[in-house]
Each structure stands twice: as structure tokens, then as C-alpha cells.
């Protein structure tokens, strides 16, 4: 394999810039450098599996030892896939891939037709053949052609060489795989450049307008099914289906009815909407000595929403909906369906949590200072995710191109035979050597069988050639 840079070392360049360029090319065209980049990419990826991603800094301080938490936050390991390091390594891989493809893969994969020392190539053989030179050459060439080899003859250094190639075109498989990878990378970048995504939640009977698309979605009804299932370790409550009946208005300003279900997204003007979650919105009312308080919530609250208690620095947050309260323990029962519902609320003083309480739906509790909090009915709400990703077609095409490249590279073995016929009068010796892009061992048996077939076709009576085994891929 010839690399320009090797020549450059033989004739050192005097221009330091040109020298630096040569060194850059040498480094980036090196497969081992590429594999080192792969190793760093793999390492960063696995760190993201082990370190929780996208949590608040407080989470890390709470759950990790302080030095580890500091490390995670300093190095952006909490958001590793969008960190400069991660994006940078993929950039380096693409750069290396481009340099390597042009400097190594393309030039090396289509080797020139040149003379070789046949007996220096580990896969070599010689077959004795008798007959007129022209007839022998014709028979040998026909032997390879019949078996699907592309045969070319050249006169090199005064002697005639025959080159037989199999699956020569498959030498481009690597190129195809690399191009596929680049297309995927381009598709993903397109989302970063032009796409958007978000989440929204709509309470039954209400509407939302998606800020990026201006589409209006009204949740007419949300329904779900959860079934109790008997398993070996007891009853499990298994979700079976979530469905949102919606009315939406997109760019055409016409109201359309649609159903949104898990695994069945809804496309509104190119942006896709997904059934992502659901929950129970609760009507709370806060009173002070029996009279409603101004800070009492106006509409139903979703899990995580809160409100202040009058003018104090205390506040209430709706933490969790409990479908069925176990009356004996006063805790949540296993059945998540709203048979005997209650809500869990957290009380805060400033940012500090000071208490947690359970309010049965339809009931109320005293929260101190003359305040009383009541939780009345629940209304189901539906959570949607939406996403506009113009890169998807490119990622899809890239994936198929990559796959095609993998299959071409792995399953079609380009092999080249170097054939030289030497001798005199009617006694000739056919010297054959074989090379492949994946070393010699991979071709050993086929080469042996090929040589054996040639020998048999020459030994046997003319015309018995068809009895020889056919040869195909590796």
C-alpha cells in the first residue's frame, strides 16, 4: 500500500506548512488512529450509559460521592452526548474517514496490474501443461473466464502476464460503507441545524397551541386501559392501551379529528405528534379560616405543579396521584386505577421540603396557620411529544447505504490471480498466485480447489472440464 507521506519522508519538504500538512494526512489516514478514535467514541458512549444523563446538578450531589459529582459536572458527563467532546470526536472520525477514504481506500483498493514474484506470495501453485503455447494460453484463460473471473492480459517486462479478478467491483464496498456513515452523520446534523422537538400536555376538553408550528390541538377525550394480570409473583397491573381523541387545526386552518395512540404518531404539516404520557389533573382549593384564598389554583393542576399558600413563603406542590388507597395502611395500593383515589402533596418552605401529606379525593386536610387544602375531582390529561426532523430521510438512506456497504465488504471477497506461463516447446508451467483484500488464509481452500480443478481439466481428456468444481465467493 503506497502512501504519499512515505514518499514525502524520502524527499523531505522544506516548507514547514507542507510538512505539517503531510503529517496531518499521515495521522488521519492511519487505520489505527481511526480505531483509537473509535475507542474514545465507545468509551464516551458507555460513560453516558453508566452516568445518569440530563439530571439537575442537585441530583448528582445527592446520589454520587462529592469528587465524582464534581467530575461529572465539570466534564459535562451529565450531558455527554451533546458535549463538545462527544461532538468533537464524531467530527474527528468523519475527518479521518474522509482522509483515509481518499488517501488509502480508493488508491489501495484497485491495485494496478503489475508483475509479481509468484513463489513469494504464500498462496501459489504451479501446474504442468502440455500443448502449443497459444492453445495453452487460450485454455487457461477460458478456464478462468468460465468460472466467472475477469481475465486481462498484459505484457510486462517482456513477458506476458494474465490477471484474473473476482468481485473486483466489491473492492468499492468499503467506500459504500463509509459514504453511508457520512450520510447518516449529515442527516443527524440536519436535525441539529433545522429541527425542533418538544413536549406538551393537554387536559381533557382543553386546547394547546404548539409554539413552533402554531398548530392547535384540542383533547376531546383521553382513555386508557390497565388490566390486572396474574403472574407467578402475584397480580401485576399491566397498561394495555392509551388513546387520545383530538381535534387539530394545522396550516390549512381546518379542524380535523384524529386519534393519537402509542406507536401511531400523527403528522400535522410535517411535524409528528406522539402519545407520550398521561396523568390526572386535580382541582385543588385553598381556604383560610373557611374563606377562599386568592392564591388558590384557578384550574386543575398536573403532577409537579405548585402554588403559594397565601402571602407566606410556603408553597404546595402536587406530587403524585394515587389510584387506590389501601385503607388499612393509608398508603398506595398496587392497583393504579382510580378506585379510591388520593393525591400526595409536598409542602415547601422556600426551596426546602418541610412535609408530605395524602389527601383523599373529595377530602381536605389542615395544613396549619388556619389554612385548609381540599382536593376534589380529577381530569385526565394527555402528554404529547412532537418533533420536526428534516434529517430522517437522509438518516434512513444512509443506514441502507451503510448496510449495503457492510454486506458488499463482508460477503464478497475480491481476489486477484497472477498467472504466468513459462516453458518452451510443448511443455509449459502455469504459475498462479492469489491475493485477496483479507489476507491469504481466507482463500486457502478455494485456491487449492481451483488449482486442483485446473490440473484436472488439463490432465483429463479434453472436454471433461465441466466436471471440475465451480468456484464462487469466499
Amino acid at each position: 500500500m503506497k502512501i504519499d507521506v512515505a514518499d514525502a519522508h524520502l524527499h523531505p519538504r522544506t516548507n514547514p506548512l507542507a510538512e505539517a500538512y503531510d503529517e496531518f494526512i499521515a495521522l488521519f489516514a492511519n487505520v489505527l488512529f481511526a480505531v483509537s478514535l473509535f475507542a474514545v467514541w465507545g468509551l464516551l458512549t458507555i460513560i453516558g450509559v453508566i452516568v445518569d444523563q440530563g439530571k439537575d446538578p442537585g441530583f448528582y450531589w445527592q446520589n454520587y460521592t462529592p469528587p465524582l459529582a464534581r467530575l461529572v459536572l465539570r466534564l459535562d458527563l451529565n450531558n455527554i452526548y451533546h458535549s463538545a467532546g462527544y461532538v468533537g470526536i464524531i467530527g474527528l472520525i468523519l475527518l479521518s474517514l474522509a482522509v483515509c477514504t481518499f488517501k488509502r481506500v480508493i488508491p489501495a483498493r484497485l491495485p494496478p496490474l503489475r508483475a509479481v514474484k509468484i513463489d513469494k506470495i504464500p498462496l501459489n501453485a504451479s501446474v504442468a501443461v502440455r500443448g502449443e503455447e497459444e492453445a495453452v494460453r487460450g485454455r487457461v484463460n477460458a478456464f478462468f473466464t468460465e468460472r466467472g473471473w475477469q481475465v486481462r492480459s498484459r505484457e510486462i517486462g517482456g513477458s506476458e502476464w494474465t490477471f484474473a479478478d473476482k468481485h473486483n467491483w466489491a473492492r468499492r464496498g468499503v467506500l459504500v460503507a463509509h459514504v453511508g456513515f457520512v450520510i447518516i452523520a449529515a442527516g443527524t446534523s440536519l436535525y441539529w441545524a433545522k429541527g425542533f422537538s418538544g413536549t406538551t400536555a393537554v387536559i381533557s376538553g382543553q386546547s394547546v397551541v404548539i409554539p413552533e408550528t402554531k398548530a392547535r390541538i384540542t383533547l376531546d377525550r383521553f382513555g386508557y386501559r390497565i388490566d390486572p394480570v396474574q403472574t407467578k409473583s402475584g397480580t401485576v397491573y399491566q397498561p394495555i392501551d392509551y388513546v387520545s381523541d383530538v381535534t387539530y387545526t394545522g396550516a390549512d386552518d381546518v379542524a380535523h379529528k384524529a386519534i393519537l395512540r402509542v406507536n401511531h404518531p400523527l403528522d400535522i404539516d410535517g411535524t409528528e405528534y406522539y402519545q407520550a404520557s398521561y396523568g390526572y389533573a386535580i382541582d385543588f382549593s385553598l381556604t383560610h379560616n373557611g374563606t377562599p384564598v386568592a392564591t388558590s389554583p384557578r384550574g386543575p393542576l398536573k403532577e409537579g405543579d405548585g402554588f403559594p399558600i397565601g402571602t407566606s413563603n410556603r408553597s404546595i406542590q402536587y406530587a403524585q396521584f394515587i389510584g387506590t388507597v389501601d385503607r388499612r395502611t393509608g398508603q398506595a395500593a398496587a392497583d393504579p386505577r382510580p378506585n379510591d383515589p388520593a393525591v400526595v402533596i409536598d409542602a415547601f418552605e422556600g426551596d426546602r421540603e418541610v412535609g408530605r401529606a395524602l389527601i383523599p379525593l373529595g377530602g381536605s386536610i389542615d395544613i396549619g396557620g388556619g389554612y385548609r387544602l381540599a382536593a376534589s375531582r380529577y381530569t385526565l390529561y394527555s402528554g404529547f411529544q412532537y418533533r420536526y426532523d428534516p434529517g430522517i430521510p437522509l438518516v434512513g438512506i444512509g443506514a441502507f447505504v451503510l448496510l449495503a456497504g457492510l454486506c458488499i465488504s463482508f460477503y464478497l471477497l475480491p481476489a486477484r490471480l497472477y498467472v504466468q506461463i513459462t516453458g518452451a516447446n510443448r511443455n509449459w508451467n502455469v504459475g498462479i498466485a492469489a491475493t485477496t483484500v483479507k489476507g491469504y488464509t481466507i482463500y486457502e481452500e478455494q485456491f487449492a480447489a481451483l488449482v486442483e480443478a485446473l490440473r484436472r481439466s488439463e490432465d483429463g481428456p479434453r472436454g471433461s472440464r465441466t466436471a471440475a468444481p465451480a468456484f464462487g465467493t469466499a
Partner: protein, 328 residues
């Protein structure tokens, strides 16, 4: 649930495990003794275990009406079944029966472990009710199974290479590595040296061959294994089945994720662990293009790759919570 069908399910499960356990023992015997008889007993045991497993998964599907691969029990069962199936395909083509004890052993362990996750018959959560699961899961599991078979061949490679080293040689790496001298009782005629007159590829374990020529037990035993070059190529061929399968598995998973969660890639721990494994095997393929890396080093990469697969498959499901951790 129909008790008759449940009984059939149990019988098939027990048949699968018993066939693998006995098959493992018989093929260990074959590995050690090279007795043809043991090989001939081991092959049908592997086939029976594999068939029983596919029948069990089918019976379960028929009985519950629910695709059986929505939990760890189903997927581990399929992993064993695919592992044995892929092994048998390669064994028939390349006479790979000598690694059968390893593959059947892993299949028996994973099927045994699968039964600890057998919670009975449960319908799938909504996100799993998709036709994509019928494509994505089998592809990914088939990829895992291929890597498992490649892992076993790599271990045998490393075993032979380490003996060669211990005997004072350094196993020849690279493209010149080829067929071992055909000394001792060969595992198979397919690994016999090429016929005379075809330029001989030098033996890559001269020390082992010398030991075998002296009549040394281990030498004879190891010389009968395929050459290091052959073992390396076998690993390559099996990884070359696993990597495209994993690639299609990840692509179909991404497609499904796009339908179920709105984004084809969410950096979920399972996705990222699969990506890590994919990167390791892509590195394997690249290293294998270098003649100086072919051999022990790439065998180690294959071993590391399979460790990463086990982490991706079981570690993430069991220890890390995410969108994929459907533990039931």
C-alpha cells in the same frame, strides 16, 4: 389458560434445557477425545434442543396470543435458540462442531437463567405492541447470538495461541498465518493441509506441531484444532454475520422508536450500550484489515465485544433504568 397447552410448553422447555445440558457434556467429551461417536451424538442433541426451543416459543405465542419476546424470558430463550442455530449453520459449513460444547453450554446457562425471569403469561405494554418488535428483537438477538459464537471461537484461538507461546514460540500473526501441519488427529478433514504443489502456507503453530510430532499429549490435542489462521478467519466470518444483523437491528429499533417515542434516537442506555458494542465490532473489522492485527489482538477485541454485548443485553435491562428496562 389451556392446561394442556401449558403442559406442552413445560415439556418443550424441559426438553430444550435437557438437550443442551446433555449436548454440552457429550461435546466436551468430543472436544477432549475427538471421538466421532460423541460428535454424532452431540449434533442431534443440539438440533433437538434448538427445535424444542423454537417450538416452545411458538406454543407460548399460540397459547397467550401475545408475541413471546416482550420479556427477558422470551428474549433469553430466543438468544439460546439462535445461538445454537447459527452455530449449527456454521458448524455444517465449516465443521465447527469442536466449539459446540461452549455454545451449548452458554445456551443451557442462558435458558436456565431465562426461567428465573419467567413470570407467566403477560400481555405487552402499549409501547411494545408494534409489528416492529417482531422484526427488531429477533434481529438484535440473532446478532447477539452470532457474537456469542464468535466469542467461543476467539476463546479457542486464544487458548491455542497461549499454548504456542507457552511452548516458547510466539504465535505467528498476520496474513501468512495458515493451515497447521496436519499432525495428530485432526478435528476435520476440512482443515487438512492443502494438497501438495499448492504453495504451502507455513504452519502458524510450529511449537505445537513439534510437540505433537514428539507425541506430546497436549501437542497432539492442540495440533488437531484448526490452525490459528483458520480460527481467526472463522471468527471474522461469524462477526461478519453479527455486525450487519446488529446494524439492521439498531436501524429497525430506531425506526420503531421514531413511531413509539417520537425520536429515532434518544440516547437511552440500551441504545447507547448497543452503539458501544457496534463501535467495538466496527473497530474489530477495521483492525482485521491490518495483517499485523489479525490474530490474538482481534480475538481479544471479539472477546471484549461480547462482554459489551452481555452488558448491553443483561446489564442494562437489570441494573440501569431506561425506556428499555422492561424487566418482566
Amino acid at each position: 389458560m389451556d392446561p394442556g397447552k401449558q403442559a406442552l410448553d413445560q415439556v418443550l422447555l424441559v426438553t430444550g434445557i435437557s438437550a443442551y445440558v446433555t449436548g454440552t457434556l457429550v461435546l466436551i467429551g468430543y472436544f477432549l477425545s475427538r471421538s466421532k461417536l460423541l460428535k454424532q451424538i452431540g449434533i442431534p442433541l443440539a438440533a433437538i434442543g434448538c427445535l424444542a426451543q423454537f417450538a416452545e416459543l411458538g406454543a407460548r405465542w399460540n397459547m397467550t396470543g401475545v408475541w413471546p419476546l416482550t420479556n427477558l424470558y422470551g428474549s433469553l430463550s430466543l438468544f439460546s435458540a439462535f445461538g445454537v442455530l447459527i452455530f449449527m449453520i456454521f458448524a455444517i459449513k465449516y465443521d465447527l462442531w469442536f466449539i459446540g460444547f461452549g455454545v451449548l453450554g452458554i445456551a443451557a446457562i442462558s435458558l436456565g437463567y431465562a426461567t428465573t425471569w419467567n413470570e407467566g403469561y403477560m400481555p405487552a405494554v402499549p409501547a411494545l405492541q408494534s409489528y416492529w418488535i417482531k422484526v427488531h428483537v429477533p434481529l438484535v438477538i440473532a446478532a447477539y447470538a452470532s457474537f456469542m459464537v464468535a466469542f467461543v471461537v476467539s476463546l479457542i484461538y486464544l487458548l491455542k495461541a497461549s499454548f504456542e507461546k507457552r511452548l516458547g514460540g510466539s504465535a505467528i500473526r498476520g496474513s501468512a498465518a495458515g493451515a497447521g501441519a496436519n499432525i495428530g488427529v485432526s478435528m476435520s478433514a476440512a482443515y487438512a493441509a492443502p494438497p501438495a504443489n499448492v504453495g504451502a502456507i507455513k504452519s502458524d503453530t510450529p511449537r505445537i506441531d513439534a510437540a505433537a510430532a514428539r507425541g506430546d499429549f497436549w501437542g497432539l490435542w492442540l495440533a488437531g484444532l484448526p490452525s490459528l489462521g483458520k480460527l481467526d478467519i472463522l471468527t471474522y466470518r461469524i462477526v461478519a454475520v453479527g455486525l450487519p444483523l446488529l446494524t439492521v437491528g439498531i436501524i429497525t429499533g430506531a425506526w420503531w422508536a421514531k413511531e413509539a417515542w417520537g425520536a429515532y434516537w434518544q440516547w437511552d442506555p440500551k441504545e447507547t450500550a448497543a452503539l458501544t458494542s457496534w463501535i467495538i465490532y466496527a473497530a474489530y473489522m477495521h483492525l482485521h484489515t491490518r495483517s499485523t492485527w489479525r490474530g490474538s489482538r482481534t480475538a481479544w477485541v471479539s472477546v471484549i465485544g461480547f462482554i459489551s454485548i452481555v452488558f448491553c443485553y443483561l446489564g442494562v435491562n437489570i441494573f440501569i433504568s431506561g425506556l428499555h428496562s422492561y424487566k418482566m
